[in-house]
């Protein structure tokens, strides 16, 4: 819709062809290189080192990886932990979408415009409190003799306390509390930018509410949904605190009582201080995240 207009250039604006603009990128590039890219490269590199006499020795060997893959289904059973991680992160993301999408829809379509920002701030307020504090707060809620169980028992809705804490359900609750503000914010922004005339047009052409939702609203909010899946699954895969504080380390899920892969990595390092081997494990996790990210970006692109 934008019509390019030849504007007289203000004297203080730099020339478009100026090399100066690259200078503005320098701080970002430096920051990212030093604090993100370099450690990442270092981590991947260390994954190929070996340990001799409890000392990490630089070099290039794939011994760590071959050892890890040999224990995929036996002894350390990494595959089970990876499966548990993928399962928990996938289900958490799905639950997050099921909770946050209707919430964001309500925010955009039901809340009056002047209250929306306020409601949004309330919704994302938990984000600004300490994550670990929130996890301990949840402990008191979902404990065997915690708030939730006490209330449900008093009401007579259950006969025995629900075992939520130290299961992967507990892990999911902690993760969801962390993810919800992010998901709500993403979905709110995407939904807010959808031209509501399109929904009227759909109704005008004969669509009922359900048809307008599935044929117009959901396809148009796809970028937001995909970003939520990407953020949700990557954060869930990488998080270790919820799995330990609320999931009890080896929480039970439909798959069984296995720890999350992130927990395994943390435990291995704590037990062995074998940095090269832990780095190799972490590289596997990062690889998994990169795959999700790349797939996500492909799906999010609205083809136009």
């Amino acid at each position: 819709m934008q019509i390019p207009v030849a504007r007289p250039q203000a004297s203080w604006t730099p020339d478009r062809a100026s090399r100066l603009k690259y200078l503005c990128l320098v701080p970002v590039v430096l920051y990212d290189s030093i604090f993100f890219l370099l450690p990442l490269v270092f981590l991947i590199w260390i994954g190929f080192w070996s340990v001799e006499n409890y000392q990490a020795v630089p070099g290039f060997s794939i011994a760590n990886y071959s050892d890890i893959f040999s224990q995929f289904f036996s002894r350390s059973r990494y595959a089970y932990a990876i499966a548990q991680s993928v399962w928990v992160s996938a289900t958490t993301t799905l639950l997050g979408l099921l909770l946050c999408y209707p919430f964001a829809l309500g925010l955009v379509f039901l809340v009056p415009a002047r209250l929306q920002r306020f409601a949004l701030v309330l919704a994302i307020a938990p984000f600004w409190t300490s994550y670990i504090l929130r996890l301990y707060a949840w402990q008191t809620v979902i404990n065997t003799n915690g708030l939730l169980n006490t209330v449900l028992l008093r009401l007579g809705w259950i006969d025995a306390p629900l075992q939520i804490i130290f299961t992967q359900m507990g892990t999911r609750i902690g993760l969801l509390h962390y993810l919800a503000p992010i998901m709500i914010l993403i979905l709110y922004l995407v939904l807010r930018n959808i031209d509501q005339t399109l929904l009227k047009a759909s109704e005008n052409l004969g669509a009922n509410l359900w048809q307008s939702f599935w044929r117009v609203l959901v396809p148009l909010s796809r970028p937001g949904l995909v970003y939520c899946v990407v953020f949700g699954s990557i954060i869930s895969l990488g998080d270790v605190l919820s799995g330990i504080v609320l999931g009890g380390g080896t929480g039970k899920s439909l798959l069984g009582s296995f720890p999350l892969f992130s927990t395994v990595i943390l435990n291995e390092y704590a037990a062995s201080t074998n940095l090269p081997r832990t780095s190799a494990l972490a590289t596997l996790l990062i690889g998994l995240m990169v795959i999700i990210l790349v797939l996500g970006l492909q799906f999010a692109a609205i083809d136009d």
Binding site: T197, L198, N204, G206, A207, R215, P219, D304
Partner: protein, 385 residues
């Protein structure tokens, strides 16, 4: 919530008092009866009555904020009404939900679905109704042929030009074979050159299909070039309904006279009236007008003189009406020139002449000139409302 229910009961109550349509099936496609619309305390539509005949091209014209788009939305069911009734081919649709009305609309900015192809956009209305794919495909193909879109069916919306988008929007609206097509300023997003071409195409399309088009616009040219009947609206009321010629030659109200065409309005008082000529005393001098209606001396009236009936001369010429004025500016409008003059009493007069290449161009600004016109070209309107 409570407001909506109140509105509904009012609508219900009024529906009973409105007389049933007589033979409306054959004579009218769309009937708007005593429609009023309020937003809280503010009334945006007052007592709208309009019937549209089958196959009629009706343009609703008025300045922005006059309620013309609201009226279109009411016909489509996108907005409710406070009182009154809407009938489509004799059926009362006042409280029928939008999606059951089959009153599709061509939107101002087309509102095409960006996530669907041209083909899917056109088929949208059919895919909702449980048609089978093999029923839909030929209909879409036929519609694409009608709108010259065959080559574009697999394009995405973002790959289309403005004119193409508009054709898709029209095709999408017509696919369900509606009894009526609503158009909300569909030309406003097109460039002027394309606009003229689309006007011709749209008129031809309407004649081919033989269904009623209701076209909302604030552009006179569009309304006058396409419509069989024009509805002029202002401040939520209908000012005049009539053929383009009627609206142009016999404006019913001051608003229509000012809004339509290039009219000069002189307020004054009748001093003398006989069978053929009415003399009106104005600050600019006496103006002689021809009037079919009877006027008595002392009546407050407004003399309306179209800008293209005024002659402009450097010297006084023998004429029934003559007013002195000085030239303040001129504006080229194609082959015509619009002159702006100011009378001694500070009144601005507009003169439109077909003389883009004549000597009068050499007239200097602030030159003293004479305006003259005939009695027959002067219409009279009653006192301002």
């Amino acid at each position: 919530m409570s407001h909506a229910s109140v509105t509904q009961t009012t609508a219900q109550a009024t529906a009973q008092t409105i007389p049933a349509p007589s033979n409306s099936k054959t004579t009218t496609d769309l009937e708007l009866c005593q429609i009023a619309k309020c937003y809280g305390q503010q009334q945006v539509l007052h007592d709208i009555n309009l019937s549209v005949k089958p196959g009629e091209f009706v343009a609703i014209m008025g300045p922005s904020g006059c309620g013309k788009t609201t009226l279109l939305h009411i016909i489509a069911g996108l907005e409710g009404i406070s009182t009154g009734a809407v009938r489509l081919r004799g059926q009362d649709i006042t409280r029928l939900p939008v999606n059951q009305r089959n009153t599709p609309m061509v939107w101002q900015h087309f509102a095409l679905f960006p996530h669907l192809t041209v083909r899917q956009n056109i088929a949208f209305g059919l895919t909702l109704g449980g048609y089978r794919q093999r029923e839909i495909a030929p209909k879409v193909q036929a519609m694409a042929a009608l709108m010259h879109l065959e080559e574009l069916l697999d394009r995405r919306i973002s790959q289309l030009s403005g004119g193409q988008k508009q054709r898709v929007a029209i095709a999408r609206a017509l696919i369900t074979e509606p009894p009526i097509l609503l158009l909300d300023e569909p030309m406003s997003a097109l460039d002027p050159h394309l606009r003229v071409r689309m006007q011709g195409e749209l008129k031809r399309l309407q004649q081919t299909l033989g269904i009623a088009f209701i076209y909302v616009t604030h552009h006179q040219n569009e309304a006058f070039s396409m419509a069989d009947r024009i509805v002029v609206m202002n401040q939520g009321r209908i000012e005049q309904v009539g053929s383009p010629a009627e609206i142009y030659n016999q404006p019913a109200t001051h608003f229509v006279a000012e809004f339509v065409g290039n009219n000069n309005l002189f307020d004054g008082k009748v001093t003398e009236a006989n069978a053929t000529t009415v003399t009106v005393q104005c600050p600019q001098g006496n103006i002689y007008a021809h009037s079919e209606q009877s006027h008595a001396p002392g009546d407050r009236v407004t003399a309306v003189v179209p800008a293209d009936r005024l002659r402009l001369t450097p010297q006084p010429v023998p004429a029934q009406n003559i007013v002195q004025a000085s030239l303040r500016g001129r504006e080229f409008m194609g082959s015509q020139v619009l002159y702006l003059l100011e009378t001694a009493t500070g009144y601005e007069v507009r003169v439109m002449r077909q003389e883009a290449f004549s000597d009068s161009l050499a007239l200097p600004i602030n030159a003293d000139l004479y305006l003259s016109w005939d009695t027959e070209d002067t219409m009279l309107l009653g006192e301002r409302g």
